[in-house]
């Protein structure tokens, strides 16, 4: 579809088909409901450990992945449930992983912090802040060397931009002109530490200058703004022109992890950001532009709800790994 510039139509509405937009809304609901389901399962003792919820950041995940195919790769973060779903993972297998089951994406070995779906191009969440940045550059190097046109999107947080790995990765991506898009989800804090305190530049996108790549900052809760920024960055990457840095300004509604007491931010700030709900905003936009009716939008949410309920049920019924198999997957299994 050609972009209609004659009217005040958001980029995404003119760029994507109604079916694609409907699917995007469904995925945003799915992320929210998946995480609410995970939170509840954690409360009921079905999930142990900790988890990092991305509720409030759904537009960033889904809009970023809008133009990616299964051949395109992403590297994700500790806050990676949304990225995983946006890239096309099945929530049943995700819940199974959270429940530590053999049917989970990582056969119960990884849990929330290592959720991955290699078949849909998700190379994995990461327990190490910044861990995915050089890996994404490596994935882009593969595509370039093998003459493929797939691109890699590297998700990372505002906190990660102060790791040495960030700077080393961006520099190499730039000098080798690799097809990688660095997507910073700037939710204002790395755990309790404000980006404004920890980072020497006002915007993470300002870092792009040092590595000779385009850098843009967009409203990460505006689906269309994110989709448009990614559209340009992906086109540049596929054309062999090299990497870009996109910064999505967003906010996490929940604490950093299950043990956060939110002492570093105010209730007012949280509530103010909750009025900028990316899902409600996208839904309203789709309805306003006649992509969906109210009833259809409601149906999309119900669909996502059903998928989450079915996913939890699948996970509950699934078998656990055998305790004798602790060392399975350490190395490739060599046929005897």
């Amino acid at each position: 579809m050609m972009r209609d510039t004659t009217e005040n139509i958001p980029f995404a509405i003119s760029q994507f088909s109604p079916a694609q937009l409907r699917e995007a809304l469904r995925k945003m609901h799915l992320i929210r409901l998946f995480e609410e389901g995970a939170e509840e399962s954690y409360m009921r003792g079905l999930i142990h450990g900790t988890m990092h919820l991305s509720i409030g950041q759904e537009a960033s995940a889904v809009a970023t992945c809008m133009e990616l195919t299964d051949a395109d790769k992403i590297t994700s973060t500790h806050r990676g449930h949304g990225h995983c779903i946006a890239k096309g993972a099945d929530v049943g297998r995700m819940f199974a992983e959270f429940f530590g089951k053999e049917t989970g994406y990582c056969h119960g070995r990884g849990g929330s912090m290592h959720i991955a779906d290699v078949k849909t191009g998700n190379l994995g969440a990461n327990g190490i802040v910044g861990g995915g940045l050089p890996i994404a550059v490596g994935a882009a190097l593969t595509a370039k060397r093998l003459g493929r046109d797939d691109v890699t999107v590297c998700f990372f947080g505002d906190g990660a931009n102060n790791e040495g790995a960030f700077h080393e990765a961006l520099n190499m991506a730039a000098i080798w002109k690799l097809p990688v898009i660095f997507v910073c989800e700037n939710n204002k804090y790395g755990m309790s530490t404000a980006a404004a305190y920890a980072t020497a530049v006002p915007n993470i996108a300002d870092r792009a200058v040092a590595y000779s790549m385009p850098g843009v900052t967009v409203d990460g809760n505006d689906f269309s703004a994110v989709a448009e920024a990614l559209h340009e960055a992906i086109a540049r990457a596929r054309a062999g022109e090299g990497p870009s840095l996109v910064e999505n300004l967003t906010y996490r509604w929940r604490g950093h992890s299950k043990s956060d007491r939110n002492r570093y931010r105010t209730k007012d700030e949280i509530e103010e950001w909750m009025t900028r709900d990316p899902i409600a905003r996208f839904r309203a936009e789709l309805i306003a532009h006649g992509v969906l009716g109210e009833a259809e939008a409601d149906a999309v949410e119900v669909e996502a709800k059903d998928a989450v309920a079915a996913g939890i049920e699948f996970a509950r019924q699934s078998p656990t790994p055998a305790v004798t198999e602790v060392t399975k997957f350490v190395h490739a299994e060599v046929a005897a």
Partner: protein, 338 residues
């Protein structure tokens, strides 16, 4: 239990985390050169609430939140230590020290030596360590042997609140870099802690339970698992001597050798991966010593599985020694069934 404690000191029940915080508060109060550095150690109080309210008491100049920059942060601590400050640098998880190996191993550990004794690096690295929290492969490791392999570093592993405080104060008083592995599962554990300043000496192990049938050398959480096992074995008439290692580098050869000469049986229990782990070194030092002639059975080791720590809770438990494992092997040793 702790010979170094002055008997007249007031003793309170504190948690392991509180004891560490108390040691840091004493250090901050008594020495203006002491600074705390780390991620989210200020307002947040640290990922495990160890620094807690120290930011309110000592301010952000002494309790410094760093950006998420382990290599740089550790290096700043090394540079500051080299020039007159005494930083206590907290890694949020010991796993993240892997990002700072350069500054710890290539710089901090070697500067005194490389500069022919003309410089010193009195830095303390605190590292929450170990498995059992469901945090999986990158948040559950036990790196004692890694750092214990590096001349120039000292490596301690407190197992009780009193030790945690005493070893941290000893680390601070030490003119060289010291790594303190704090076990995450112990942070909430309570125990008697003397008030005021005292030191638990680095390089000294403690016999925490005397016995004559088998020696169990353990550290951190494994001390508690060994003591539980010893209690059950005692009901069968097997008296295990449990040694709390406390320091991984330098190892307390005398205490270990004396115990093995008495019992003739040695079981090493450690959470790090079994192969090339702390227990391998202890086994070797006993085999090389005069205690060798006293051995009545092959030395046994229980260590972590040859795998990353898995997420699934049953697998996670199976990946490191548990009390029934210690009980089983110690019993076999005592009964001459090995």
């Amino acid at each position: 239990m702790n010979a170094q404690v002055q008997i007249d000191a007031e003793v309170r029940e504190l948690s392991y985390a509180e004891a560490i915080r108390e040691a840091m508060a004493i250090a901050l109060e008594s020495d203006p050169a002491v600074v705390l550095m780390g991620e989210d150690i200020g307002t947040y109080g640290g990922a495990f609430q160890v620094t807690g309210d120290l930011i309110d008491r000592f301010g952000p100049e002494r309790v410094m939140d760093t950006p998420i920059s382990e290599l740089g942060g550790a290096g700043v601590a090394v540079g500051a230590a080299l020039t007159g400050l005494k930083p206590i640098f907290e890694f949020q998880f010991s796993d993240f020290a892997a990002l700072a190996m350069e500054q710890i191993v290539n710089q901090a550990a070697k500067l005194r030596y490389m500069l022919g004794g003309e410089a010193e690096v009195p830095v303390v690295f605190r590292m929450p360590s170990g498995s059992g929290t469901g945090a999986a492969a990158q948040h559950s490791q036990s790196f004692e042997a890694w750092f214990g392999h590096v001349p120039g570093l000292k490596v301690v592993q407190p197992s009780t609140p009193a030790e945690a405080k005493g070893l941290l104060l000893a680390a601070l008083a030490d003119p060289d870099p010291v790594i303190v592995f704090e076990h995450k599962l112990l942070y909430k554990m309570k125990g008697p802690v003397p008030a005021g300043h005292y030191i638990t000496p680095i390089g000294k192990a403690a016999v925490v339970r005397p016995g004559q049938h088998v020696t169990i050398v353990a550290s951190a959480i494994m001390v508690h698992r060994a003591l539980e096992a010893a209690l059950r074995l005692a009901k069968e008439g097997i008296e295990a001597e449990v040694i709390d290692l406390r320091t991984v580098r330098p190892l307390d050869r005398e205490t270990i050798i004396a115990s093995v000469k008495k019992t003739g049986k040695l079981l090493c229990v450690y959470e790090g991966v079994k192969t090339l782990g702390v227990g391998a070194e202890i086994s070797a030092l006993v085999a090389e010593s005069e205690a060798f002639d006293y051995l009545d059975a092959p030395i046994q080791r229980l260590g972590g599985a040859e795998a990353p720590i898995p997420y699934n809770p049953d697998l996670e438990r199976a990946a490191v020694p548990q009390s029934p494992d210690i009980e089983r092997v110690a019993r076999q040793l005592a009964k001459g069934e090995v």
